[in-house]
Amino acid sequence: MIAVATDPMVPQPFRIHKTKPENADTFTFELAPVNGAKRSAFQPGQFNMLYVYGVGEVAISISGDPANPNTLVHTTRAVGTVTKRMKKLKGGAVLGVRGPFGTYWPLKEAEGNDILIVTGGIGLAPLRPALYYVLANRTQYGRVVLLYGARTPGDILYRRELESWRGKLDLEVHVTVDRATGTWRGNVGVVTSLINRAPFDPENTVALVCGPEVMMQFTMQELEKKGVPADHVFLSMERNMKCALGFCGHCQWGPKFVCRDGPVFRYDLVEDLLTRRGI
């Protein structure tokens, strides 16, 4: 018999317990194992492979609270065949889950430093677990700053949570949009423009960055200008993935397999890859 339970290519069934639309094309699922088994813990920054029955599988970062691993939370943007179909699923439906996979944000190692989180668009999703962790262990860190850029006010993710975080006196939250629409009176411009006004001590800061590649490239330049050491900067990459185990080859980025050497990379180790096209 095939040892189905241990073959890492075989998905485990998880039931959707709660669905929540975040904006026009982005939605959040809360999932729990169908067989009631305890969920293995994950680290902030890791991802799962989510399978929609009969349609296909996609790599999606985990966006829930690491202190509560029994509820698996994924925020997904409907952009392809699988995610568009996923968006139509209702509570009670079953998804296949493989994971968690990959490297994670070095939150333990970052203790004693200021934490600067720079995100764009859906890039906030893999950083939400990091923020949950940092807030739960607030005394271990210096200043904590979240900079977030969205295309339009309507694209802002986790809006209510962002507002409640901004209400905290020991957390600095700045949000900007590329295009102001409707009644928006907040910041307009790219997220990197927020870096200059953010209060942090460059030499004692750990920066966690996730967003479109071009946004990450410009963020790296800004952080360098501010004097944040490159080995204190971490970023999360996205590549085509079929297996998440280093077997399918698709996620190669130079010598790295994004699935297992990443998705979280220390910037100084991948600097020359990030700035080059077609690698």
């Binding site: 890492p8 009670g92 185990l245």
Partner: protein, 382 residues
């Protein structure tokens, strides 16, 4: 070292069949030497050889009675160890979900007949990829763990062979159960036999072979040494991994890309190229779903697709990915080269692109831009 008279090759094959192995070996089909199931030594390409050069392959009747007087054709053993199409699992749909259907895995017990030294090295590379990393590939393991390997040393290297450069041949050194050297000497036709495992030992014991005489040993040794001196191609490997990492921007990539059809032939015939895709299929009613794994190639545009576009849009980036992966980043990933010098990618390239030539030109280049080096600092894994 033992000696097996040529007329007794079937005694050896029969001993393997008695142990329940399905024999797979070289056969002549469609004008080439390929691998397929064989019943006896008479299915082997006896008296055949082939002539290979960049973009060309000719099957030739040599009428010399040799069982293994050729090198390798377009097939490699990866098609048995990591088949072009494999079903990874199947599932049954239910009202609100699905469940995985448990299946009996019926994997044939293969005995691979006539595995060349380069191919032993290729199998060792696949073992490293699929069995010795942070995860194990169950499909590969199922096929690999039972496989019996009867190796054959190469005594007549082909026009595109460069295993000697890659330190991967022509002699089988490890990774086999039994290894043969086919010898023609003073009108005698025999095999010298070396044992590489307990299983091999056991099979050999059954054949009651005599020890090879000193002249027989010498004749075998001489044939292999001669082969090593007559490789059709050569590749300088000293510092190659670092060199290619420093040639990421080099005018020669454009030159190769102008010829490259990005057809992916090289990745299909390469005995170590392991990339795969997955396909999800259902029946019309959605009662069943299956997931299939298929060979994939880094030369396709889809290979690097992510939302927002393809990472490697140009032939330059795709050829560079293939060559630098094989000869450079493979070292970072698996502590070894991904190339065994079998020459298949040269022979079966429809436009005759020859990686040994491309490497030669890239070596002479002056533009040095290094990528992917880690500057001696620890890895980003935590």
């Amino acid at each position: 070292m033992f000696v097996l008279r040529h007329a007794r090759l079937d005694d050896l094959l029969d001993a393997l069949k008695r142990r329940g192995f399905t024999l797979v070996g070289p056969v002549v089909r469609d004008g080439a030497i390929v691998y397929d199931v064989i019943a006896s030594s008479s299915d082997l390409p006896i008296g055949y050889t082939h002539q290979q050069d960049a973009g060309s392959y000719h099957l030739i009747e040599a009428h010399d009675g040799a069982f293994f007087g050729y090198t390798v054709g377009p097939h490699s053993w990866k098609q048995y160890l990591n088949p072009p199409r494999t079903r990874l699992w199947k599932a049954k749909g239910s009202a609100n979900g699905f469940e995985i259907v448990q299946e009996n895995a019926n994997v044939p017990r293969y005995a691979f007949i006539g595995v060349r030294a380069c191919e032993l090295n290729a199998i060792a590379i696949l073992d490293r990829v699929f069995l010795q990393g942070s995860a194990v590939d169950f499909e590969y393991r199922r096929r690999r763990e039972h496989a019996f390997i009867l190796a054959v040393d190469c005594t007549r290297p082909g026009g595109t062979c460069f295993c000697a450069s890659m330190n991967a041949g022509p002699q089988a050194r490890s990774g086999f159960d039994l290894a043969l050297t086919e010898v023609f000497d003073n009108g005698e036709h025999y095999f010298t036999v070396v044992c590489g495992s307990e299983r091999g030992d056991e099979v050999l014991g059954e054949l009651c072979l005599e020890e090879a005489s000193e002249p027989e040993r010498q004749a075998a040794k001489h044939s292999i040494e001669e082969a090593g001196r007559h490789m059709g191609r050569k590749m300088e490997t000293a510092g190659l991994a670092e060199l290619l990492a420093s040639r990421v921007e080099h005018p020669h990539w454009e030159v190769v890309a102008k010829r490259c059809l990005t057809c992916g032939n090289c990745t299909l015939v390469c005995p170590t190229c392991f990339c795969s895709n997955v396909e999800d299929v259902t029946d019309l009613a959605g009662a069943f779903a299956e997931r299939w794994r298929t060979w994939d190639s880094c030369f396709t545009l889809d290979y690097s697709y992510i939302h927002g576009g393809n990472v490697r849009k140009t032939a330059v980036s795709r050829y560079r990915q293939w060559l630098t992966h094989k000869l450079s980043s493979w070292h970072s990933q698996f502590e070894m080269s991904g190339c065994v010098g079998c020459g298949r990618c040269i022979t079966w390239c429809p436009v005759g692109i020859d990686l040994t030539e491309e490497v030669r030109v890239l070596r002479d280049g002056a533009t040095a831009v290094t990528i992917g080096t880690e500057k001696g600092v620890p890895d980003a894994k935590h």
